[in-house]
Amino acid sequence: MIKIEDLHKSYVMGSNSLHVLKGIDFNVKEGELVSIMGSSGSGKSTLLNILGMLDEADEGSYVLDGVPIKNLNEKVAAQYRNKFLGFIFQSFNLINYKNAVDNVAMPLYYQGIKRKERMDKAMHYLEKVGLAQWATHLPSELSGGQKQRVAIARALASDPKVLLADEPTGALDTKTSYEVMELIQGINDEGKTILVVTHEPDIAEMTKRIVNLKDGRIIDDTVVKQVIAKSYV
């Protein structure tokens, strides 16, 4: 599903250049649930942003579901993001003046889907994350865990190939974090490929494979026995 080879990325600030990713080779097969770990500043978010086509690598190749991702203009990148990827952010990034179901429907709007169908689909995903009865509530009326569920429903709405989650539990307490992980595990069980950036070992253990980054290199990549989040909830 994801194939990257010898990926390099530097940030240039004035005369200084910060080499953040120093040659990453990394493959993800369909249906995997991978966590990316590493200390702060190791380049986890940078890697995820490149995978999410929000940023571009300086060197190396990236192939997503057989499509080479290279030199995309903004328009094509937007279309690919919409079609291939779902994003889950640490701070949820819901649109605060739109209610839950409207937030979930956003990616569908940009796919040009008609309003009625959009609402049906959005409701379906909202049900899936267990928030159907909160559909008309604004984000400000939801708890952190609920907001993240709405965000997950939104990421799922366009039925993307891959879900990219940057510290999805970073802003949540332990119990809520596990609930969110339970949801993510469930989605993965249905076959969706998911990448989760985290620095919490207990969260990482709930995935099927842990990739460790250090100073812009992968120092460890192991398949682990998945801890079922439900058992903690």
């Binding site: 929000l54 328009k75 937007a78 994003f87 990034n93 956003m106 990616p107 709007y109 940009y110 309003r115």
Partner: protein, 414 residues
């Protein structure tokens, strides 16, 4: 444009920025309102002035004689110049090609006129048949003076509409006799004049009749002409000016008047005057447009500002939208539409209220120089286009900034 969701979004964002939105709308609104009222009034001034000119033909030249004020060729100042039939005939011959209508006039002020028990004092003018066109008069009933009336010095009279109302009330005056200073004249026509009451309290007789009956001999008080109009207004003005000058020079040399004596002959060139006043009106209306557009520009800058603030506040949201697949063009469209919407709503309200205000004010204004202030359809359309263009302009810079927002930067958690 007709996307319901888009509109919903616009209302949502605008209601989040109520105060700014309101203030901006007020400035666009008042800009358009001021523009409309100014344009309305400049149209009103135009109408007023035009109707002043329409009292008589606009290409009229009139000549009257007065008293010399300068010594010339041994003749003392203070000499009264008297125009005669012969002067009129000479000019007619010499400038036949450039003259359209012509009349010599012998007039009497305060001519006591009676019909039955009714009577009044009116201006009596002996004139040529052409006087009708020079005065821009049209017939209500009957006819104007004819060549036969002239040739036979008939005792007929054409009366103004006001005279008819005064003396005849509802009665048909045609064929009736009125007495002027005790002499009977047969009414053959009633005319109306765009100049209104003031111009309709006159009675026209054939010039030879007037000269005979009122002991005028071959004297005339004034002469009036109209210039042949060419299609080009400037050419017509030039011809009119040249003719006026020629008339004056000819008469001055004939009567031995100093070339720089300004009161011996008064030559009035309506076309030249019209041109001056019209160019003054053009200047006034240009100034009005300038002021109005200035206020609109101030409003537009306001809209641009609020949109910039909106874009800045929504940086994160725009980043999210882009991450979710929003094309740059859809972001630009959103901001532009918002700006056009605010400007248009405010602008149209201003337009609407301005037109209503003018409609209310119009009948209340009773001045010779401002008549029917209003904004015509073509001008309204122009203003509408200006408003829409202004809105687009106001949205352009914020929209460009929004389009350049990089999702990765917008989304970075602080």
């Amino acid at each position: 444009m007709f996307d319901l969701e888009r509109w919903q979004e616009i209302f949502e964002t605008l209601s989040k920025n109520k105060l700014q939105t309101f203030l901006t709308m007020v400035s666009v609104f008042s800009g358009v309102l001021i523009l409309i009222i100014l344009i309305g009034f400049s149209t009103g001034i135009q109408n007023g002035v035009r109707s002043e000119f329409e009292q008589d033909a606009t290409n009229r030249i009139s000549i009257r004689a007065g008293i010399t004020t300068k010594e010339f060729k041994g003749l003392n100042p203070g000499r009264r110049i008297q125009l005669r039939n012969e002067d009129f005939a000479e000019i007619n011959r010499k400038y036949e090609e450039d003259i359209e209508y012509k009349t010599g006039i012998y007039n009497i002020w305060g001519g006591q006129t009676t019909y039955g028990k009714e009577s009044g004092n009116y201006r009596i003018e002996g004139a040529y048949p052409d006087q009708q066109f020079i005065e821009n008069a049209s017939m209500v009933t009957g006819r104007f003076i004819s060549q036969d009336d002239m040739d036979e010095s008939r005792k007929i009279v054409v009366i103004g509409n006001q005279v008819k109302k005064d003396l005849f009330k509802d009665k048909d005056p045609i064929g009736e006799s009125v007495k002027i200073f005790g002499i009977n004249f047969k009414v053959v026509g009633v005319y109306t004049d765009p100049g209104g009451e003031r111009e309709e309290t006159r009675l026209f007789l054939p010039l030879p009749t007037a000269q005979k009956v009122f002991f005028g001999g071959d004297r005339i008080r004034s002469m009036a002409y109209t210039v042949k109009m060419s299609d080009n207004f400037d050419e017509a003005v030039a011809l009119s000016a040249a003719l006026s000058e020629n008339f004056e020079t000819d008469l001055k040399s004939k009567y031995s008047v100093s070339p720089d004596d300004r009161s011996a002959f008064r030559v009035n060139n309506t076309l030249e005057e019209a041109r001056k006043i019209y160019s003054l009106i053009d200047t006034i209306s240009a100034v009005f447009w300038f002021i109005g557009l200035g206020t609109i520009i101030a409003g537009v800058v306001g809209v641009g500002n609020i949109m910039l603030i909106v874009v800045k506040e929504r940086t994160k949201e725009i980043g999210v939208r882009k991450a979710l697949g929003a094309l740059p063009s859809s972001i630009v469209g959103m901001i532009l539409q918002e700006a056009i919407f605010i400007t248009a709503i405010a602008g149209f309200s201003g337009l609407f209220l301005g037109v209503i205000a003018l409609n209310i004010a119009s009948p209340l204004i009773d001045s010779d120089f401002i008549k029917f202030p209003r904004v015509d359809f073509a001008t309204s359309i122009t203003i509408v286009l200006i408003i829409i263009f202004a809105g687009a302009l106001a949205g352009y810079f914020p929209a460009r900034r929004a389009a350049h927002i990089k999702p990765i930067e917008a989304l970075r958690d602080e």
